[in-house]
Symmetry: C2
Subunit: 269 residues, 2 copies
């Protein structure tokens, strides 16, 4: 048994879509979330910058005495996970492998599309993960960076005419390639699910990592016998930008009011 | 006479459009540029975060022994200038007042539009500057935040159908208000000038701060007799993200190859 919290971080608020699934799957666990809103986005920045940010984010969560870390950001998973795993001595989860696993399970025609930030896509991390998970070199992976999706979500244009046009511009080429499954390889993208489904039509399944990673974390803490026995669950939220901004937009992502938010000077870690 | 360089900074590459004008106006001066590409954008972040970034950016430039600072970022000018002026003991220039001055000079019907990042627009800094410069409370200022313009520029969609649609969505309401002058209150926006002109039509003048601020800096160093007498001009560029990314996109903004780029760990300052 281990009553310490699980630490979750993302470049901003997107990771709250992952936290939401964790809250459903492991409601008894204490959770500490850090959103690096002061330095968002990670997805357009270089490998070295994202690695440095990832290390700082984890160093901060360690000060909260966490028993495990969930990297709820695809770009940080792509660039920072290997380095973090080598450097830190606690269980660390990333979002790419669970997303790849779900896609391999869902596809029927072995043509999988992956969309994400420029960082995630150029890293090629989903392609490797899909081939590794499936043990099938024949699976075709078609990838596409969609750098305007995050700002679109943050502007609140989730299914207006412009959103539809941008979704078409990025995704129609994937449809033409004949994919039957699409991995939403960025935690912001589930918010655009409606527009994406409308453009792609019903024949293409959408896969995101939230549900998958929550199941994985739950299975791990049960099998390792490190579930909590506390009656009271901690819910703490930290941001590197202003508390007000986090509170305001955060509740849309999480689907509930956020009880406890503190500011962090992340560059001190 | 003062042979030290002038320091210029921006949240990323946009400030290179200002540097370009400085290179034209004061070609003999040495120039040191810092682009905070590792933490871009500033325009969607809180006042406190942008203030902290501004102080760190100036602290870094001071290590390069600069004789003056140009804040070539509208959001940093809006949120960080006053604090910087109080804290540092050297001439500091910002981009808002020069833009406001140009707009007041250009308008005929006293209806001025201002577009910028959410930070710049909510700060109300252009409205104050326009009223202060014109000494005319009757001037009408219509402001509009355009958060998708920066990602649009960075995606390279400068005048395709989607760019036109987004420009229309943001700017047609300003046209309806009857403005005859529009301040491009963000250093990225001059790149969208063609699309903006097409949407607004010929009757509306576009104003940006680059030319204006270069003239102001030139006038200042001449009147203070702190121009350089060096024959060799320093051109140094620093970025908080990767050197490769800076080199690649930077030359499009500057209109020339960038000779010297170094990485900076900006959070140490």
């Amino acid at each position: 048994m281990d009553n310490r919290p699980i630490g979750v971080f993302d470049s901003g608020l997107g990771g709250l879509t992952v936290l939401k699934e964790l809250l459903k799957k492991c409601p008894n666990e204490s959770l500490v979330y850090f959103g690096d809103c002061g330095r968002i986005p990670y997805g357009t920045k270089s490998r070295e910058t994202v690695q440095k940010f990832t290390m700082q984010d984890i160093n901060f969560l360690l000060t909260k005495n966490v028993k495990a870390i969930v990297i709820a950001c695809n770009t940080a998973s792509a660039f920072g996970y290997e380095m973090a795993k080598e450097h830190f001595d606690l269980p660390i989860f990333e979002v790419v492998t669970p997303g790849a696993r779900a896609a391999v399970r869902e596809t029927r025609n072995e043509k999988i599309g992956v969309i994400g930030t420029p960082g995630t896509i150029t890293s090629g991390v989903y392609e490797s993960a899909i081939h590794k998970v499936s043990q099938n070199a024949g699976i075709k992976v078609v990838s596409k960076a969609c750098p305007l999706f995050v700002p679109l979500v943050e502007e609140g244009w989730w299914d207006n005419e412009i959103a539809m046009k941008i979704v078409e511009e990025y995704l129609l080429p994937l449809k033409t390639e004949g994919i039957d499954t699409l991995v939403l390889g960025c935690t912001h993208y589930p918010i655009l699910e409606k527009a994406i489904s409308r453009v792609l039509g019903e024949g293409i399944r959408l896969v995101s990592s939230g549900v998958e990673i929550a199941a994985e974390v739950d299975e791990f803490i049960c099998s390792q016998e490190i579930v909590t026995t506390n009656d009271i669950q901690k819910r703490e939220f930290y941001t590197s930008d202003s508390i007000e901004k986090f509170a305001e937009m955060g509740k849309d992502f999480l689907g509930m009011e956020i009880p406890f938010i503190e500011h962090v000077e992340i560059d001190r870690f």
